[in-house]
Amino acid sequence: MIAAVEPEGTGLADWAPGEAIVELRKLVVDYGVERRTRAVDGIDLTIRVGEIVGLAGESGCGKTTVGNAIMQILRPPARITGGGVFFRGEDLAQRSRARLRRYRWQNVSMVFQSAMNALNPVTRVSEQFVDMMRAHERISRRDAEDRAGDLLELVGIDRRRIRAFPHELSGGMRQRVIIAMALALEPEVVIMDEPTTALDVVVQREILQQVQDLQRKLGFAVLFITHDLSLLIEFAHRIAIMYAGEIVESAPAATLHSNPQHPYTRGLMASFPPLTGPMERLVGIPGSPPDLADPPAGCRFHPRCPLCVPGGDAYLRQTTERPALRRVEAGHDVACHLAGGAA
């Protein structure tokens, strides 16, 4: 059975960051050989004990590649060409294949996008649990099935459903089975890549509440990858915004909501119509995200940026110089030439 950590400091308000478990240091990931595409370009990101970190951005910004890099499942033509992923201070590039195999799923596990495709349609749920557990530890079939039953109950599914085939379960239940599998070996970090995108809002809310309960009970950290910023603001402790392979802003969720600094973050927020309160015409963000094989010079957002106007004071810098992440207030970093009043 899974050891329950006594919930300590469970509310969002009294949550305090613990020690770092996973750190990305200047991570660079390239795809392709002849036509190189830099999907992730020099990212720093830290995931701490018991923390829910949100990673938001549009399709093609490199957010899933970040998840795959942490999980160490990048395959050619993708490869890490700079910086690295560190687990408790140790560079994973130095680990042997056998030790990486243990790292995956025991230290860090992943809930993949679209539960519909992540389960094998022709084997029972029980088989898939047993396979996964026996690949990682010496355990009898009977014990593995027992533990799988416990895990299903943990995510709110009747343990008798373990004999079911995936098609006999609803989309929400399949996604919960995937989450149960990710928790099976008691990992310290769970990466969730758009875990609720294919689901209805009511089911999405049910699953998020459950993940939050489990996270408090078991104490694991979460990297939650999504394009839905409004969801992250409710759910995450800290949010990093990615654009064209870079992190352009990072802040505690509440700060990001009340004081977004990067024009891209502001544009994203202005892309979600409000459900309550006054309604006005929204503008979204003009243009579309750049081709990562040939990103714009200078700030990558400048062709779409409302603050970048030809003839403006900062125009030359915006179009030739890449802005670095700078601290504008406690815990709040922004990569914009104009952030924090500095032009």
Partner: protein, 335 residues
Amino acid sequence: MSEAALEVRGLSKRFPVSTGVRGRRRYVHAVDDVSFTLRRGRVTALVGESGSGKSTVARLLVRLYAPTSGTILFGDRDVARDRSRRDIVRYRSQVQMIFQDPFGSLNPAKTIRHHVERPLRIHEVVRPGETDNRVHELLRTVGLVPPEHVAAKYPHQLSGGQRQRVAIARTLAVEPTVLLADEPTSMLDVSIRIGILNLMLKLKEERRIAFLYVTHDLASARYVADDLLVMYAGQLVEQGPVEQVLAKPLHPYTQLLLSAVPDPGTGLAAKRVEVQKGHASSAVDPPEGCRFVSRCPLAIDVCSRVTPPLVEAAPGQSARCHVNAPAPAVFATAS
């Protein structure tokens, strides 16, 4: 209230599934007794969860499916009864559909010009010599400039948002009075969704097109729509002006849907939603009674026995609920 463009009365669609014991045919009741009116210059949003039948309604209206029963009044004609290819093509020159997937709805081997000029030819909208001008004008209307440049491109050279604009230009080619948009933004990136919604608003205002906007996203429904229809398990469970319904939803399903939408500013913990376990009544030959009963926190005895009718419980707002929108007749017999 502006004039009706399309009137739907008692629309139903049943799909046969398997033959039960003793050869009895069984049916999925995908759409069950749905009535509403689309009006010129208004957007009507149709929301519901996946499987609720909302896309089937749109497909029935554009006559991709033939209805099992009910009428679709277009002008003074009941197009639900049209069977000939000619009648259906003529109807579709007025009622067009925008699909969810702009990656699948365009032919990758053909240029943008080909896609936009095809409906012009099929429906003989303009004389052959004027086709080019018309194609450019349509591309400009949907914000694809410069049109000469865009027309020569292939779909793979355009972004998802631009492709969806091509799909919209193509529907506009025939100068339709009704546009049915089935989740037109759900496959697009967040930052460009608003652009498509704004284009819908512009077409509604400038061309007085009657829109049916099918979505699962209540916030975007509020942004573009004037009227709201909520579907659950094949039935309309609530309808009314969008602001009024969202401010004061009557049906417990609408209330649940509304509370589940992420709303920045309130933490998840602050806004816990009690989700009742349970499912909609079986879609295959559903039993009598409210289809939401097993998930409903308000359910009373009568709910599992009698299907609630759609009752106008506030001005312009109706719901199928024995508790919040009681029908006078039912209560008379119950007391």
